[in-house]
């Protein structure tokens, strides 16, 4: 070995040319040396690399620039280079030429480059081998692998670029190729390239590589990106924790490449310690592994290490299992199989040990990772999905939504209601010449009903805006999530979560969506609970009626109603689960959307679409219902108290007394079965300007009872039709409607009676 070969990289590479220059642009004609490093931006460095300017490459200056491009010889090619570009190439003195015997007689050191896709493995490979690359077959294999040559300090290296792979479980062709090469190509060394910004992913592969015979060096690539993103990684600490050499680098910038080569050389010269800390197996499964290895003793499976074969069998690796089965005597294999079946869970410990090992390495070497978008979401969710704090924040936020809606929207709504009332009065005067029923149809039916509903628009616009903001930030799914925590405890199947979530928007798609729940019992339970989810229409009606009936107390009342509704949902789930379905809940984990700044256009479209939808409904269903209700309340003699509607309404009076509701209010609630907004229209037809007329008639207890009844009353007809379609059973459809009717009656009556006692 020559003196140069024994010198460290500082002596041969890092001191620059002895002639007193460092840059290729300054090098004289006939200068012969090596490329030490590259500078400049990534694009220019990439271009230089593609021309063969990689660290360690021999270079000779054929012609200097003298104002024009300079001509150099590198990797057997003549390359013309502008002075600007030449200035980016740092050069140094070439090591003394080894004697030809030294290299020729030396068997090349085979180095496998392993790593996941997109970790910069190919960039590193190109930098190390430049143009000396070829594609070929390896012994016993038909697959082609890219390899390249590198000669450094009299040592010839053959680098093999393995396909990008996440693990060595042979789950894909790439993984199988990579694994086969490491096990059967018998490389002298494996360089595991990992992305420093996603260390845990890369370390899984390293954990697997460490259980194989070839020694491993860790190339910690993309350190520059990791630093930019705020990761603080200590390569030396990681090296101590892992017990293998770790080289920090930024291959795309050419940084650390020379260090990697130097580390490889020093490692080959036994100058570096190597005591790999491998993932351990739990004692219980170590014993099982020993049993399997004892049974397989003497097995020669393509030269694979026996312990590794045993581990893969316990992990259920299909390829290894198939190969081992073919080689082992049937009676022995039956014994092996019995052990494997009895210890099916071994995979959890074996693979789990790798994750535990990764976690240990990360704890040792990664400090204060940055608060990324995902991490910020994670931190926020620690509070926002917490059973207590999350619920508290949810209540505060919803309370805020109602407060904002009412404090800004109610004055506008009151003004519009007054306007509609005045307009109705004016119409009665202007149309005095027309038949009375026509005047009343327009003034009382259309304006009183539809007009009253339209005064609702400012409130709705505000409500949907705030809801849209909460929705677009990703918060609304947390509310559903909080509700589901409790539902889940009540035996709901995990898949029920999605339809229940949809139910907050509209119960109809939620019911249709319940078909994703395969278990018939779990599905039926989901279907029965969906009508208890406060849909947007029901919430919107409460948003309208609460300020009308409770004035400044509207926000806490609305919030209380919503919370009470969710509580009842939980109770109903508990009862149905406990006494009817006896379901076993299937635990689940879900990924919640990341929080983000709301988009104005998205919210505007959300509000616009909802308002248009509401207006379309108002122009059809609500207008028609208003006219029908008006006709029934006007005919036969123009007096509401003796109208057809009154005759039906009177029948409901005993029921109404229980709830503290007069028959017109009950009729209004009944019309909500067609569409929830009809309740408001009917109240408008029967009571006129309800802001002035309704509160004194109902009183506080009656008002509370009305709102509770409205929240829990039977679902709208569309929901019931969807229910019939999905259950294909009238029995369950009617059972659902009956359940809601009973619940709404019992709870409203209880609220009314309690409120009367408390408010007396």
């Amino acid at each position: 070995m020559t003196q140069a070969a024994n010198d460290g990289p500082e002596n041969t590479l890092n001191e620059g040319g002895s002639a007193g220059f460092r840059s290729l642009a300054e090098a004289p004609v006939d200068f012969a040396g090596i490329v030490r490093d590259l500078s400049g931006d990534a694009k220019r460095r990439q271009r230089l690399v593609s021309l063969g300017f990689t660290p360690g490459a021999l270079i000779q200056v054929l012609r200097t620039g003298d104002g024009g491009p300079m001509l150099v010889s590198i990797r057997g090619s003549r390359v013309a280079l502008g002075l600007d570009e030449a200035g980016l190439v740092e050069v140094g003195e070439a090591p003394p030429e080894p004697s030809s015997e030294e290299v020729i007689n030396q068997k090349p050191v085979i180095i496998a480059l392993a790593g996941q896709p997109n970790v910069g493995k190919s960039t590193l490979f190109n930098m190390l081998t430049g143009l000396r690359q070829h594609v070929g077959n390896w012994t016993g294999k038909t697959v082609e692998l890219k390899s390249g040559e590198l000669v450094f300090r009299q040592t010839a290296f053959t680098l093999v670029d393995l396909p990008g792979t996440y693990s060595l479980t042979a789950a894909s062709e790439e993984e199988r190729i990579g694994r086969d090469f490491i096990l059967q190509g018998k490389p002298d060394l494996v360089v595991a390239v990992v992305n420093a910004t996603n260390l845990e992913r890369g370390l899984y592969l390293v954990a697997e590589l460490l259980s194989l015979p070839p020694p491993v060096i860790l190339a910690l690539n993309m350190m520059d990106v990791a630093e930019e993103e705020g990761y603080s990684i200590e390569p030396k600490v990681l090296e101590s924790a892992m017990g293998i050499p770790v080289v920090p680098m930024a291959a795309a910038k050419g940084q650390g490449v020379a260090d990697l080569i130097e580390t490889i050389v020093q490692f080959r010269e036994n100058k570096l310690p190597y005591h790999p800390q491998k993932p351990s197996i739990l004692p219980a499964h170590q014993k099982v592994l020993d049993e399997v290895m004892a049974l397989l003793d003497g097995l020669s499976l393509e030269g694979l290490p026996l312990r590794w074969v045993g581990i893969k069998l316990l992990e259920g690796d299909e390829e290894i299992t198939r190969k081992a089965k073919a080689l082992v005597r049937p009676e022995v294999w039956r014994k092996v199989e019995r052990i494997l079946y009895a210890h099916e869970d071994a995979i959890l410990d074996i693979a789990g040990a790798r994750y535990t090992w990764i976690a240990r390495m990360l704890r040792a070497a990664v400090f204060d990772p940055p608060i990324s978008h995902g991490r910020l979401t994670s931190r926020l969710d620690q509070v926002l999905t917490h059973p207590f704090w999350g619920t508290l924040v949810m209540l505060l936020l919803l309370g805020g939504v109602f407060w904002l809606t009412y404090s800004v929207g109610s004055p506008l709504q009151n003004w519009l209601a007054g306007l509609v009332s005045d307009l109705a009065g004016a119409l009665r005067t202007w149309l005095a010449f027309a038949p009375k029923w026509t005047v009343e149809l327009v003034a009382g039916g259309v304006l009183g009903g539809l007009g009253m509903v339209l005064t609702f628009l400012p409130l709705l616009a505000l409500f949907y805006t705030v809801l849209g903001i909460l929705e677009d930030t990703g918060y609304l799914s947390r509310i559903a999530f909080l509700a589901d925590r409790w539902m889940h405890r009540l035996g709901l199947h995990g898949k029920s979560f999605l339809p229940l979530l949809l139910g907050f928007g509209c119960n109809v798609p939620a019911i249709l969506g319940s078909r994703i729940v395969e278990s018939p019992k779990a599905r039926l339970l989901t279907l029965l609970l969906i009508p208890l989810i406060p849909c947007a229409a029901r919430t919107a009606v409460v948003t309208f009626l609460a300020p009308v009936l409770f004035g400044p107390l509207a926000a806490p009342v609305s919030l209380g109603l919503l919370a009470g509704n969710l509580l009842l949902l939980g109770l109903a789930g508990f009862v149905l689960h406990r006494f009817v379905f006896h379901n076993e809940g299937v635990p689940f984990i879900m990924e919640l959307p990341l929080y983000h700044v709301p988009n104005v256009r998205t919210i505007a479209l959300f509000v616009w679409n909802n308002l248009v939808g509401f207006l379309q409904k108002a122009g059809k269903v609500i207008l028609l219902a208003s006219m029908v209700v008006w006709a029934l309340s006007y005919f036969p003699n123009g007096n509401i108290n003796t109208s057809y509607l009154a005759r039906v309404g009177m029948l409901l009076e005993p029921f109404g007394k229980l709830l503290g509701l007069p028959w017109p209010a009950l009729v209004a609630l009944l019309t909500g079965a067609v569409a929830k907004e009809n309740t408001i229209a009917t109240l408008g037809v029967l009571y006129g300007n309800i802001g002035q007329t309704l509160p004194p008639i109902l009183g506080t207890a009656g008002s509370l009872s009305m709102l509770v009844f409205q929240m829990l009353f039977i679902p709208c007809i569309a929901t019931l039709a969807a229910m019939r379609q999905e259950t294909r059973s009238w029995k369950w459809t009617l059972a659902s409607a009956a359940m809601m009717l009973v619940l709404s009656t019992v709870v409203s009556a209880a609220v009314y009676q309690l409120a009367r006692v408390l408010l007396r």
């Binding site: 479980t169 996603n198 845990e200 992913r201 899984y204 739990l282 004692p283 259920g316 995979i347 959890l348 410990d349 693979a351 789990g352 994750y355 535990t356 976690a359 990360l362 990772p369 995902g374 991490r375 979401t377 994670s378 969710d381 620690q382 999905t385 929705e471 677009d472 930030t473 990703g474 609304l476 799914s477 999530f481 589901d484 889940h488 405890r489 995990g494 898949k495 999605l498 949809l502 928007g505 509209c506 109809v508 969506g513 994703i516 299937v586 635990p587 689940f588 984990i589 879900m590 990924e591 919640l592 959307p593 990341l594 988009n599 998205t602 479209l605 959300f606 679409n609 909802n610 939808g613």
Partner: protein
């Protein structure tokens, strides 16, 4: 010796102590990336089952808001993945 992280996930789920991936990360004291890897591993081993993002998209197509609007809700835009314990996972946990 403590159970492995994979067994710990199954145990946490069975006991109802984790519901979201975020709470899982917090309970295990790991990173989101680690949680992803372990969940994928458990799916491959048959202990967890994923409710496909397709299911969420199908549900979104049933929603009036989604049908009418070019501005879909956050769930429709980025349907979160959900993972269930399989019978094998339930038995193991």
């Amino acid at each position: 010796m403590n159970p492995s992280l994979l067994s710990e996930i199954l145990g946490l789920m069975k006991d109802g102590r984790v519901y979201s991936k975020e709470s899982l990360v917090s309970a295990l004291g790991t990173s989101a990336s680690m949680a992803d890897m372990m969940i994928e591993h458990l799916i491959r081993a048959g202990y967890l089952e994923e409710i496909g993002a397709d299911a969420a998209r199908d549900l979104c197509s049933l929603c009036d808001q989604s049908r009418r609007s070019r501005a879909q809700c956050t769930l429709c835009q980025k349907p979160g993945r959900a993972f269930l314990l399989t019978p094998k996972g339930m038995k193991q946990a």
